[in-house]
């Protein structure tokens, strides 16, 4: 029954979901940077430094090249919006969210792909060679991660019997501590982890802290941006990172997530979520310190590994079933 | 033989090479090393004699609470180990001394050589008498480890290459055999349920008919491929020619005569167990098929050889293939022929390698074309070469003729086992005869070329009689004698063994 209260509750929950994503993502980026700094025996900036960076950027005046088209100025908004929407499809602190019905895996993957697509175009739009280089590299990486990501998530979806993300999370969470297919899940987790590192531009695929243009992939595409546009793009990449971490955390280790709408369950869900995502962020920071960035043509090897692992995940599911 | 006596005798059997090996490490003088060697081989042969007598009266001997199990089949193999070991030890007396005198190896390395030799002997004896299939596996892998450095003993580039190939290929093959052992254990656990004795041959033989045929099929295939690598069956044979060429002659003789035989023994044991659950057609067919392929391929490669040690290596592959055909075809004639062939081949091959070793020492080359006029240069070795060459090509009056005839007769009367050949039962026999003619031609051409002809001038003539020639005379006589008359006890032993193989 669609009552007045249920509509208000739905809107409130969705807003809460969005606010959590928006508010938490700069903190996660800051946490990763802090972990890296500490491992490199530096003090490093504080965890909340990205908030200050964003505030600074919003107050500055953007400078736009005269040779760009509407794509250049529209892309930050499109990327932010598509990443946010994709984020709303993944369960964060509750497994049954109001936007359930739209939470399909394919929608998720291709909303993110929409953002990537526009970013690639924007990199080309300014006409600089660095932007074009970044765009072509990003398209290589994106085209290789897409099959791995879809197959890995499908392996999970087959186990849960649905491609709806919140159904997957809800079913796994209710199974009281039994993962039904550990071999398949292990392979899918490994594949998704490599895809996360590739899609969010982390070492060993791309160094987010580099200032050498010839080694950039993601940074080269946003090289021409400034002011509020740059702020939106930075925030969007943070949200993308958070969304991927949420996907890994809630699909593979969903216990602790709120399976009902009780306020106690919701707060526990939120706390557990923050802990899980923070843990994953620390892991990513550690991995970034352990490995060096791969040369470009070795990235295809790494993504090939991810693809094979995802393929094996599917294979294990079918073989172990029958 | 009571249990206590069995323990003592088997204890001597195992301890002799063990203590001799460790003693060799500590001692430096070459004379003492040889004495220890001969004493340990003598003890080995004595223990084998006692065990064989017990096997005649009791049928089988177990010792050390079922860790050791010896029956007629094991006794035959032990006999081969003992006699070829003795022949090699006598041969080594002159061979190693000359190598040390020439400065090819340092005297200290001689101790290492004898240590490895004894560990090799110990591992082979253990593989033959072990009751548990797992311990048998450990022992066979142990032979690989012990012989790697023996093969690469000269430290030349080619030796190192041969040794590395041997180590890797044999270890890989034997690992596959381990998987077969695991599968065997898996199937037997489900029937027996006891953990520690489920791999014992004695236990497995009792419950073999209850084991699961699917698992046994898989297990046997893995075991066959794994141990077949050690035997040198095609296509797992690629380590064999290189290893035999590069190894010192006594080591090559032991490898060719004894080690391959022990590997065949391992296969036969597993086949005996598998046959009671599967039909013996499957296992027999596998053995016969691979044997036939090995025989054919080796015969053709013999035509191409220009290196006499490699020639003998391919001849080993050929004869092992033939023995496999004999065992695969089965029946009393085939099995007896196979066992007899193993014995004869061990003798003939060691004789061949002794001759090869002497030729190599004198001529300093392994090329056939450069060896000429052997009859004038090294008369005794020429005789050995001639006898072994004729024997290996299965000419009468040598024993290999008898065993080969037995196998071919068995093949032509029953054909290849059912599952593997459809109506053309004549084809394998024709193939076998054709390939043996091919091998005969190639062999004889090479050997006669080496023995007769003008001798090169830069080689010293004449051969001094030494202890190393005793085994040559003895082996030659035995090879000739076995064709006509087999000693009664040996014949009885082989017949008991073949009955064992057939009754399973």
């Amino acid at each position: 029954m669609v009552t007045h209260e249920s509509i208000v509750q739905a809107i409130a929950l969705t807003l809460a979901h969005a606010i959590v994503l928006i508010a938490l993502s700069p903190a996660i980026v800051g946490l990763i940077r802090k972990v890296k700094a500490r491992l490199q025996c530096r003090q490093g900036a504080g965890i909340f430094q990205p908030y200050a960076d964003l505030r600074k950027l919003f107050r500055k005046q953007p400078i736009v090249s005269t040779t760009t088209s509407w794509i250049f100025t529209a892309t930050p908004y499109i990327v932010f919006a598509s990443t946010m929407t994709a984020g709303l499809l993944v369960p964060v602190f509750a497994s049954q969210m109001p936007l359930n019905f739209a939470g399909n895996i394919i929608a998720f993957v291709y909303l993110l792909a929409l953002g990537t697509f526009f970013l690639i175009l924007a990199g080309l739009d300014a006409g600089s060679s660095f932007g074009g280089m970044g765009s072509s590299r990003e398209s290589i990486v994106a085209s290789l991660t897409e099959p791995a990501m879809i197959m890995a998530i499908f392996a999970i979806a087959l186990t849960a019997g649905s491609t709806n993300l919140s159904t997957i999370v809800h079913k796994t969470a209710l199974l009281e501590g039994v993962v039904t297919d550990p071999s398949s899940h292990v392979m899918a987790l490994a594949a998704l982890f490599i895809v996360t590192l590739a899609e969010t531009g982390r070492v060993p695929v791309d160094n987010p802290a580099t200032h050498l243009e010839l080694t950039m992939i993601h940074e080269a595409m946003v090289l021409e941006y400034s002011g509020r546009y740059l702020a939106l793009l930075e925030w969007a990449s943070g949200i993308k990172l958070l969304v991927f971490l949420t996907l890994i955390a809630n699909v593979f280790v969903p216990w602790g997530i709120a399976t009902s709408m009780a306020p106690a369950a919701l707060s526990i869900g939120l706390a557990v979520y923050v802990i899980k995502v923070a843990g994953l962020a620390v892991l990513i920071g550690t991995i970034e310190c352990m490995f060096a960035k791969l040369r470009l043509f070795r990235i295809t090897d790494l993504l090939g590994v991810a693809f094979i692992l995802a393929l094996l995940a599917l294979l294990f599911f079918y073989i172990l079933r029958g | 033989m009571t249990g206590f006596n069995a323990n003592i005798v088997v204890g001597f059997l195992l301890l002799a090479p063990l203590t001799a090996g460790w003693l060799s490490l500590l001692i430096n003088g070459s004379r003492w090393l040889h004495v220890i060697n001969l004493i340990s081989i003598g003890t080995l042969i004595g223990a084998e004699g006692f065990i064989a007598r017990a096997v005649f009266s009791q049928g089988s001997v177990t010792a050390f609470a079922d860790i050791v199990y010896v029956d007629a089949l094991s006794s035959v193999i032990l006999f081969i180990i003992g006699t070829v070991g003795l022949a090699c030890s006598l041969y080594m007396r002159s061979y190693m001394d000359e190598q040390v005198a020439r400065g090819v190896i340092a005297p200290k390395r001689l101790s290492l050589f004898f240590f490895l030799f004894h560990m090799f002997l110990l591992a082979m004896v253990l593989a033959t008498v072990a009751n548990s299939l797992g311990v048998q596996w450990v022992a066979i892998e142990g032979t690989t480890l012990a012989t790697t450095f023996l093969i690469a003993f000269w430290r030349r580039r080619e030796s190192l290459e041969a040794g590395w190939k041997y180590l890797i290929l044999c270890s890989v093959g034997i690992s596959l055999a381990l998987f077969g052992v695991v599968l065997m254990y898996y199937s037997s656990l489900r029937v027996l349920g006891d953990v520690s004795s489920a791999l014992n041959i004695t236990q497995l033989q009792q419950v073999a008919s209850q084991l699961d045929p699917h698992i046994l099929k898989l297990a046997f295939v893995f075991l066959f491929v794994g141990y077949g690598t050690k035997v040198g069956l095609v296509p797992m044979h690629s380590w064999l020619p290189d290893a035999y060429t590069e190894a010192p002659a006594p080591v090559a003789a032991m490898l060719a005569g004894v080690l391959e035989t022990v590997a065949v023994y391992a296969i036969l044991r597993c086949r005996g167990i598998a046959d009671q659950a599967l039909s013996s057609d499957f296992t027999g067919g596998l053995l016969a098929l691979f044997g036939l392929i090995s025989f054919a391929l080796a015969a053709f490669f013999i035509l191409l050889q220009h290196n006499y040690k490699r020639l003998f290596a391919y001849s080993s592959i050929e004869h092992m293939g033939l023995a496999m055909v004999g065992f695969g075809v089965g029946g009393p004639l085939g099995t007896f022929g196979g066992l007899f062939h193993l014995i004869n081949h061990a003798f003939a091959k060691s004789l061949a390698f002794f001759a090869a070793g002497n030729i190599h020492r004198r001529f300093r080359t392994v090329e056939i074309d450069q060896v000429r006029g052997l009859i004038a240069v090294l008369p005794w070795s020429a005789l050995a070469l001639l006898i072994s060459g004729l024997a290996l090509t299965a000419l009468p009056p040598f024993a290999l003729f008898a065993s080969e005839m037995q196998i071919i007769t068995a093949l032509s009367s029953s054909g290849l086992p059912g599952e593997w050949s459809e109506p053309v039962t004549r084809l394998p026999v024709v193939l076998l005869l054709f390939c043996s003619v091919v091998a005969f031609a190639g062999f004889l051409y090479r050997i006669t070329g080496m023995v007769w002809g003008p001798a090169p001038n830069d080689v010293a003539h004449g051969e001094r009689w030494s202890m190393g020639h005793i085994p040559i005379i003895l082996l030659g006589a035995v090879l000739a004698g076995f064709c006509f008359a087999l000693p009664a006890s040996l014949r009885r032993l082989i017949e008991m063994a073949s009955t064992l193989l057939l009754s399973r």
């Binding site: 071999s183 094996l312 294979l315 294990f316 | 190192l160 890797i168 695991v182 254990y185 520690s196």
Partner: protein, 222 residues
Amino acid sequence: MPWLTPHIATQIVDFSSAMLLLTCFGIVAQRRLSACVDLFALQSLFLAMTAALVAFLTGTPHIYIAAALTVVVKVIVIPRVLKGVIERLNVTRELVMKINVPASLLICGALVMIAFFITQPIIPFGHLLTRDSLAIALAIVLIGFFTMISRQKAVTQLIAFLVMENGLFLGATAATYGMPLIVELGVFFDVLVAALIAGIYTNRLQDAFDSVDTSRLTKLKE
């Protein structure tokens, strides 16, 4: 422990086996030799954990001994020996691979499928705790075999052999709760001696050939 039902126990052992397979893929995809050795040590650690888990779940104490031996021999001793060999020989990476990484990974995936297919008749019969682990064990053996064929450096071939032994140990532990103790001890002894021998061998190879690239071992032909 009441929550440790047989179902959950099977899942945990399956999970460990899957991690073993993952490290196997890591070794195939690696170019740096020291990383291969580290991955092998990690794989042996997972193997020891799996063995200890099976020992705990089935109450068979002699598997604890095998697990402890695995840790000592394969996690500590052999990687140290290999690292020493790598340092002394100054080889750090496979320069030329006969089959490139994505293709070899695809072949490894196919080998996993073959392994499952081969052990298909065995899996339904098993009433023991860990039936799928036998298939994974055979897969690891086949992958080790393939790595040995497709790599050229002698050290990598040795690591591939040790990976095969790991797969066999997993098969023995998971399918039959380990082999009789004598056999286990014998196998460990063999593996250790094989590793030491191969280590000495690579030194000799280096001295004789100035490299441990086994593609240079071509002097012996038909």
